[in-house]
Structures are given as structure tokens and as C-alpha cells.
């Protein structure tokens, strides 16, 4: 489903990714690990079309992401749910509206939006906070809103870039539990992280990046760096 073929990315002479190749099949749970600067975020940015590869090819389903024009990116992104370390929630909208926004952009009717949003709000256990604004939430709650938004339009894949980077251990495990549950329901999951404990506990496929290259790629891997 997702295919990185000999992908390299250079920023002003700095090599962020060098000849990276891997495939991700549907319903997989893949952790991309490595220290800061190893290239994890670059992989995420290339996948959602925020950056273009310097060379190589990135494909997602029938989309050739590396060739998409700016106007075509919204279509691609409606198939990918994204969760970030800094949450990236809209401060002028409340919890409900933040989640509904992902459906509004796709032109879904109000009734369907209402049903879907309430459903995911219950799933992340935020049913009572739907009218609250983002600055009234704790870090863990914010991340749960972000996850709810990422999954509400039933994407083929959810990409989480350091989703637990700003959270305490308790909220971290609750976020990971939600992500695991989403994966079990059939959504492909890509988790970029440098948190060793999470990765080891998951016991799923691990791609280790070092200096912009794939160092290891193991089923049921561990973060042994």
C-alpha cells in the first residue's frame, strides 16, 4: 500500500534521507524509530506530500505522492490521518468542530458528520468535552482529540509522528492503547517515535533509521539502538 523506493531527501546540502526503501502493507502496525535527526519526520512529511523527495519515488495506493501537485494534495490527505507531537489542533474551534473539520473539508453532510464525530468522541473518551476549546484541555486530552480527528474519516492509514513526545507515562500508554485499538479495527498504523519502551512493548514491525538510512527492518522488532 505504501512504498518508498530509493528515496533520498536533501535540505540545503544536508542529507536527511539516503536511499531509503521499504513497503508497508495494509493493516500493518509499523514503528519507525531512531534518534532525533535520523529522518523519522522526513519520512512522515514525504508520505503526506508536505515535502518532495530529492530523488526516488513515494507511492500511496494509486497516488504517486512525489508527483502530486499542490491542488491534488487535499485528496491524498483525506486518506491519511495524521497525529503530531504538537497536536496541531485549531485554537479557534472547539473539540467537536476540530474533529468535524476533517469531514467538512470532504463535503460530508451535517447529519453524517454529527454521527461520526460523536462516535469517535466516545471512542477516545471525550464525549463530555465536545464544547471545550483546545486551550482548556490537558496534553493527553489534546492528543486524544487529534487522534479522533485523524480517524474520523476512516482513513486507510494513520501516521503518528512522536504522538507521545509531550506526554507523561500515563497518557503515553493510554495514547498507545488507543492507537493499537485503531489498528486492530483494520487501519494501517505508522508510528514514528524515539521512545524505546513503547516500541519494545508493542512487539510489532520496527524500521530503525540511522543517519538517514534504514539500519534494520524487522518483524516483531525491538528498538535496540
Amino acid at each position: 500500500m505504501i512504498n518508498f523506493q530509493n528515496v533520498s531527501k536533501r535540505y540545503n546540502g544536508y542529507e536527511a534521507l539516503i536511499d531509503v526503501t521499504f513497503k508497508i502493507v495494509p493493516q500493518e502496525f509499523v514503528s519507525i524509530v531512531g534518534r532525533s535527526g535520523a529522518g523519522k519526520s522526513t519520512v512522515v512529511k514525504l508520505l503526506i506530500g508536505e515535502e518532495k523527495p530529492t530523488s526516488g519515488r513515494v507511492t500511496f495506493g494509486h497516488y504517486d505522492v512525489s508527483k502530486l501537485k499542490s491542488g491534488q494534495l487535499p485528496q491524498l490527505r483525506r486518506h491519511i490521518g495524521t497525529v503530531f507531537q504538537d497536536f496541531k489542533l485549531l485554537p479557534t474551534k472547539n473539540v467537536y468542530e476540530n474533529i468535524a473539520f476533517a469531514l467538512e473539508v470532504a463535503g460530508k453532510p451535517e447529519k453524517e458528520i454529527d454521527d461520526l464525530v460523536r462516535e469517535v468522541l466516545d471512542l477516545v473518551d471525550l464525549g463530555t468535552k465536545s464544547k471545550n476549546f483546545i486551550n482548556e484541555l490537558s496534553g493527553g486530552e489534546k492528543q486524544r482529540v487529534a487522534i479522533a480527528r485523524a480517524m474520523v474519516n476512516r482513513p486507510d492509514v494513520i501516521v503518528a509522528d512522536e504522538p507521545t513526545g509531550n506526554l507523561d507515562p500515563f497518557n503515553t500508554s493510554s495514547i498507545i492503547n488507543i492507537l493499537t485499538k485503531i489498528n486492530e479495527l483494520g487501519t494501517t498504523l505508522i508510528l514514528a517515535t524515539h521512545n524505546k519502551d513503547i516500541v519494545d512493548r508493542l512487539g510489532r514491525r520496527v524500521i530503525l533509521l540511522e543517519g538517514g538510512k534504514v539500519a534494520t527492518d524487522e518483524e516483531k522488532g525491538r528498538y535496540t539502538a
Binding site: S70, L73, P74, R77, K88, T92, F101, V105
Partner: protein
């Protein structure tokens, strides 16, 4: 499509309301710009009417010898009418001149009596010439000098008033040019100030714009609400500006009338209210939309 349009409009109003501080700041700046814009418009109307009323007072008169035959005078009038620079030529016959004189001095018994005692009309026929532009009088005067009219012409008034006319002409020209330049500069300043304010307002929302892109919003779905906000700013500030201007003009009008008797500013304002409002609406909405479009461009690249 309808749903999307509805959502864009709703999001525009929502963000206008929820970011009240930014909205009020932008609205205030836009309002000030519109007040400057309207004041300049009104000032131009005033200046034009003042200059026109001055310009209208300038003319040159050709006085003919009492012996000059009327058909000769009418022939000269016709040749003047054909000049490009001439706006109008008014012929005042000797009889008409006498009438005017009598009217003017109807209260003065001594003068009336003196005239009645005269057997012949002592006044000359004359042509009052108005030029299209005040600086063309010297041209017309030299035409009068040059043509072989010497036999009939008693005197041309330009020679006596030349200095005053020339000075007035140059004052009028300079005033008009200054007006145009001032209008231009003030309009540019107003546009730049509004543009910068909207630029900053959108800059403070840049993260939101990037987030919308990441969630899969199309560029028009993101831009739309900002354009709606631009329209709200333009409309509201035009309404407020009219509400502010009306009492100001109402109270200033009588004082202005002292300087320019021919000008009833408040009446002008009321009869042209719809036009002025439309101009402001156009200016406000136009600059709101264009500034938003330009400011948002750079954040849509993600």
C-alpha cells in the same frame, strides 16, 4: 457545493466572532482608511466647486466703440466662438448694457435723472469671453490684439487684469494638481495600512492554515472564510463610516457655506449618499479581499 459554500460562510463569521480582538483591530484600521478615503473624496468635491466658482468669475471683456456696427460685432463673436480655447462668448448690446446699468442704479435718483437727460446711450457694446481653462486667457487676448479689430475695439479688459488673472490661473492649476497628488498619496497610505493589518491578522493564523492543509482542506475551503471576513470588514466599516460622516458633515456644512456660498455640502452628501456608500463598500471589500488573497498565499504551500 451549497454545503461547502454554507460552511465557508459560517467559518468566516465564526472566526470573525471568535477572534474579536483581531477583528476589532482590523475593522478600526479599515474604518480609519475609509474615513480618509471619504474625506478625500469630499475634499475634492469641495475644492473643485470652490475653484470652479472662482474660475467662473474670471473673464475678459472686449468693449467696442459706440460707432461699431452691430453686425461687425456679431461677426467677431462668431469668430471667437470658433476658437478652441473659448468656452462661451456673451454679447451685450448697447441697449442691454444700459438696462443693466439702470437696474444696478435704480435706487439712485440722481443717476437716473442724468441718464434720462442724455439724448444718446453713452455705453458701449461688449463681448464677455470665458475660456475653457484659466491659463488660456492670454492666448485669447493676443488673438484679439492680433486680429484687425483695432478699428472697432475701444479696449480689452485683459490688459488691466492680466496679473490677477494669470496668478489666479496658476493658483487654480497648482491646487488641482496638489489635490490629485494628495488624493493619490492618501489612498496609497490607506491601502498599505489596511493591507499590513490584514497581513498581520493572517500571520497570527498561519498555523491554523497549515493545519487545515494537513487535514485535507482544499485551498478554496481555507481561503473562503478569510474572503468572507474581508467582506464583513468592508461592509461593516463602510456602514460605520457613513454613520460617522453624516453628523460631521451636517455640523460642518453651515461653516463651509461661508467660504463657498454655492456649495451646500450636507445636501450634496445626502443626495450622493448611496454613491459614497457604494464607493466605500467597493474600496473596503476590494482591499479586504485582495489583501487576504495575497497574505494567505504563502501559507498554502504546505
Amino acid at each position: 457545493m451549497v454545503t461547502t459554500l454554507y460552511r465557508i460562510i459560517r467559518n468566516g463569521f465564526q472566526s470573525f466572532w471568535r477572534q474579536r480582538l483581531i477583528s476589532v483591530a482590523t475593522l478600526t484600521v479599515m474604518l480609519l482608511a475609509l474615513l480618509v478615503f471619504t474625506s478625500v473624496l469630499i475634499f475634492n468635491v469641495l475644492a473643485t466647486s470652490a475653484l470652479n466658482s472662482i474660475q467662473d468669475k474670471i473673464d475678459i471683456s472686449v468693449y467696442f466703440k459706440t460707432s461699431a456696427p452691430e453686425d461687425e460685432i456679431l461677426r467677431i463673436k462668431q469668430s471667437l466662438d470658433e476658437l478652441n480655447e473659448v468656452k462661451s462668448v456673451e454679447y451685450i448690446s448697447r441697449d442691454r448694457a444700459l438696462e443693466i446699468f439702470k437696474e444696478k442704479h435704480s435706487d439712485d435718483a440722481a443717476i437716473n435723472q442724468a441718464i434720462d437727460e442724455l439724448s444718446d446711450n453713452p455705453l458701449s457694446a461688449s463681448l464677455n469671453i470665458k475660456a475653457k481653462e484659466p491659463n488660456q486667457y492670454s492666448l485669447i487676448a493676443s488673438y484679439l490684439d492680433g486680429s484687425s479689430l483695432g478699428d472697432f475695439v475701444e479696449k480689452v479688459s485683459y490688459a488691466q487684469n492680466q496679473v490677477v488673472i494669470d496668478r489666479l490661473a496658476s493658483i487654480i492649476t497648482v491646487s488641482r494638481q496638489t489635490g490629485i497628488i494628495l488624493t493619490f498619496i492618501l489612498a496609497i497610505v490607506a491601502i498599505l495600512v489596511v493591507f499590513n493589518t490584514i497581513l498581520l491578522a493572517i500571520y497570527s493564523n498561519r498555523e491554523g492554515i497549515e493545519i487545515m492543509r494537513l487535514v485535507g482542506a482544499s485551498n478554496w475551503f481555507i481561503r473562503g472564510p478569510y474572503l468572507v471576513e474581508g467582506i464583513i470588514y468592508g461592509t461593516l466599516s463602510a456602514i460605520i463610516s457613513m454613520a460617522v460622516m453624516t453628523p460631521i458633515v451636517y455640523f460642518a456644512s453651515p461653516y463651509l457655506k461661508v467660504f463657498i456660498p454655492s456649495m451646500d455640502l450636507f445636501n450634496y452628501f445626502i443626495t450622493h449618499a448611496l454613491g459614497l456608500f457604494s464607493y466605500q463598500l467597493l474600496f473596503g471589500i476590494g482591499i479586504g479581499i485582495v489583501s487576504s488573497l495575497i497574505a494567505i498565499r504563502r501559507y498554502l504551500k504546505i
